[in-house]
Amino acid sequence: MADDIREQELARAAGPAVPLDEAAVDGLPADDDAPQPVESAIVEASAVGTAAPTATTARRGVRQLLPSLSAKLVVGMVITIGITLFAFVAPMFVQDPRYSGNEAFLPPSADHLLGTTKLGYDVFAQLAHGAKGSLMVGLIAAVIAIVLSLVFGILAGYLGGWSDDFLSLGTNVMLVIPGLPLMMVIAIYAPSRSLLLVAFILGITSWAGAAVILRSQARSLRGRDYVAAARVAGEKTGRIVLVEIMPNLLPLLAAQFLSAVILAILGEAGLSFIGLGPNGSITWGTMIMDSYGGNALSSGAWWWFVPPGLMIALFGCGLSLLNFAIDEIINPKLRNAPAAVKSVRRARRAGVDVTARADAVPAPAAAGAVTDQDRETVGA
C-alpha cells in the first residue's frame, strides 16, 4: 500500500538493495570476513548471496560508475528531464493559474489545453505550477531524508560500537512507527502549513528505510583496506566518511534519493487529499483534492481529475526506470544475467548449444562458440 512510506521503502529495500557482501560498489570483491550485522530481520533483508561477482574487464574508472545506455534508461531520462523542464519552464508561458475570468468546467480546447476548473482556472496552467510545487516538495523532502539517513546510516555503520547501537535504535524506532498516522498527527497541530513545512514533515518521517541499507553497506566497507589505511594515517572520522566511504556509495545514495523523491510526492498527494497538505500552494496533490471537492467526477470533468494523477504516475515511472539503471550498476548481475540468457538463446538458435542437458554428448565447440569472456562483453 503506497500510503505508508516506510512500508514501500522496505518493499523496495527488500528487492534491488545490494546483497550485503555483493557490493561491487568500489569494484573490489566483497570482504569475506566482514561482520554480518544481525540486529534485525529488516537489516538482514539484504543479506543474501555469498559469492563475489566475477571481475569484469570491460569498463573501468568513472565509466564504471555510469549506467550503460539501454532502452529503459533512455525512457526514464526522457520522462524525468521532460517533466522537470515542464515544471520550471512552462509556468512562464501559461496563464495565471489563479485567474478565474474563464468560464467554468470547459472541456479541453485550443484555448485551454486541458480545460478549466470549477472556478474557471486553466487546468494546464495549474498542472504546470503544480509540477513545480510537487517537485519542490519532493526535492526538499528527499534532501532532508537523505541527509538524515546519511547520519543515521553511514555514520552509524562506520562508527560501530555504542554510537552505532544508539543510532540504529533510533532508526529502528522510526522504522516501526507508522508513517501516515504520524504525519497526520504532526500536521494537525500546525496552524497553517507551508510547502516547506509539509516537505519537512515528509522528510523526517521517511529516512529510516534508506538509513538501514546505508548502514549495512557502511559496515561492510568499514573493513576495507583503504579505509584501514586512512585510519592508520590518522585522518579524522569525518574526512574518512566523506572522502573514502561516501563516494563508493554514490550509486546507492542516488537510488535512494530518487525513491525518496517519488515517495515524498505521493505522500504529499495523500496528505493534500485528506486536507493536511500545504495551504495556498498549488501541487498535483492539491489539484486532486480540489477536483474531488469540486465534484469533478460527477460533473464529468475528467480533464481536471485525471491529469494530476497521471503526471504523478509518469514522473514516478521515470524515476523508477532511472533507479533500475542505477541498480544495474550496483548489482552487476542484474546487468549480466539477462544478457547472458539472451546470448545463450542466440547461440541455441545459431545451432551451437552449450547448456543442453538432454544431450549426452555436448555440442562441439564450433567457431562461433560463446565463451565466458564473450558473454561479459555483450553488455546490457
Binding site: R98, Y99, S100, A104, K118, L119, G120, I188, P191, S192, G275, N279, G280, D290, Y292, G293, G294, N295, L297, S298, S299
Partner: protein
Amino acid sequence: MIRSTARKRLLTAVALVTGVTLMATGCSGAGGGEGEGTEGGGGRVLNVWAGSQTPIVANFNPFAPTVLHGALGPVYETLFVYNKAEASEPTPMLGESFEWNEDGTQLTVTLREGVTWNDGEEFTADDVVFSFTNEASKPTYLVSAEATDATTVVLTFDGPQYTNEFALLGASWMIPEHVWSGKSAEEMTTWTNEEPVGTGPYTVKTTSDAAYTLVANESYWQDGKPAVKEVRYLGIDANQSAEDLLKSGDLDWTGMFVPDPDGIAAAGGPAGYVNTPQDPTVLYTCANADLGCAGPQTDVAVRQALNLAIDRGTINDKAFVGLAATISPTYALLGRDDQWIAPDVEKESPQSADADAAAAVLEDAGYTRGADGIFEKDGQKVELTLTSVDGWTDYNDAAKLIEEQAKAAGIAVTASTVSWQEFSDSRQSGNYQLVMGGMIGTSVADPFQIYRDWFSGDYTQAVGTQLEPGEWNFSRYANPVVDEAVQAAAATNDESAKKAAYATIQTEITRDLPYIPLVINATQTFFNDTDYTGWPTEDDLYAFPPSWGSVSAGYVLGNLTPTE
C-alpha cells in the same frame, strides 16, 4: 517448503473449494441482498441521510452533543412547530394554544389531551414542567414553571421574553419525568438513552454502526399517522458517496449540497427537489478598535469599500454554482422577512463589483493609491488577511475570488485556509482580520435574533477573551444606538414598535458593515415524490424541508404517505 506433491495438491484443492464457496455465497448474498425487504404494511423502508457519519453510535439523548438526528423530531417533540421556510403561525403539536401576559413576563400554555408516551404512560403537565426545570435544560431567565391544572402550564420569567418564544415553544424537547427525574446533570448529558421514551411518531428499532432504523409508534396521538412504517437513517462519510447513492436511487430523502441538482433526477434519482436558502454567508470583520481589534478593517471606510468591490454575482455563479440567493445587508431573509425591512435602507447587497465606487469611498476617507495600485494612508497599506476553513470548498473558492476582486479595487486581500479549530479559536478570541463564515439563520420569520446575538454589544467580549456560549458577536461591534434599539425591540410584541426599532438597527448596520454580507447559502433538499407524497414543496412549504431539520423533520415524516 512443501516438497510432497501430494500435500501440495491437497492444499490447492482446499484453496479452490474455499474460493468457490466464497464466490458462490458472494453472488447469492449480493443477489439476494439488493432487493428491499418488504416490511409489514406501509410499503418499504424510507431511506434517509441526515448527515450522520460512520461509525454510528447509539445516542438518542437530546442533551448529548452527539445525539442522532432521529431522536430530534421523530422521537421527541416540542410544544409547537415553527416554520422556518415561510412566515406563518406556529402549528400546535403537544401544546394547543399559548398566551402572553401584558408585559411578556408570563406565558400560559394549554396542552393537548390524550397524548401518551411510547411506553404507555400519560403525557401530563408535570412532564412539561419537568422539561423546563430540569438541570440540563433550564433557561437562565426562567423564574418558575407551574402546572396550574392537568392541561395548563404557566411559565414565569424575570423580564419580557417575547423574543424567546421560539426557544421555549418550538425548540424545547418534552421529556418524560418518570424516566429522567433523579438523574444528575452529568448523567443527563452522558446517558446514551438507547431506547428513548418520547411522544413522537417513531420509536427506535435497531442501531448498527452503519445505520439505525426507526419504526412507527403505534400509540402516536395523531390517528392514522405515521403512514410510513419504517425509516432508516444511514451513515455516509463523504458527500460524494451520498450523491452517488442518491443517483442510484438508494436514498429517498436528504438535504445536502449538490452542485448539479438536475443531474440527480436525470441519473435516475429522486425527482423531488427544493432549494430554500436560509443561512447568510458573510465576512466576519474584527471591526471595533476600542475592544482591541487591529488592522485596516477597523476603519469603516475600508469595510464599505470592500463591500462595493465584491462581485457577488460571480461568487454565486462560480463558488456556489448559482445556487445561493441574494442577501440583504439588513439580514432579514428576503422573501420571508420582507415586512421587517425598513423602506429607506438598502434592501439588497450590490450584485456586481464597482471598483470605482470603492475607490471613491477610500479616497474620501483620506486614502491614496500607491504605486502598486494598493491604497494606503499614513504609510499603512490596506492589506488584509482572509481565512476560511479547509475543506469548505465553496467558501475557499469564494475567498479566492474575493482576493482577486479586492485587488482590482486597490485592496490587498490574502486568502488562506485554516483548520476548523483555528477558525473557531480565531473568531472566539477576536484574533483575526477577515474570516469567511456563516451566520445562523433565524428559525422564525423575524431577524431579531441575528440583531441581538450578532450585533449587540452585550453579546461580545474584548479581543483576547473567548466569547461565552450563546454569544455570537465575533466582530466585537458595540454601538449604543443598536444596543438600545435591540433592548426596546425585546421588550415588546407590538409590530409597529418592533419595526421602528429594526429601522434604527438597520440604518446603523448597513452603514457600519461589521459583517460584510456575501450570499444566502443554499439549502437543498432532495426527496422521492414518486413513492411518497406529503413532502414540503416549492408550492407548499409547510415545513423546513431538509432531513436534518430536527423538529420539522419529525413533522414531515409524520405527514408522508406511501403511494400505492
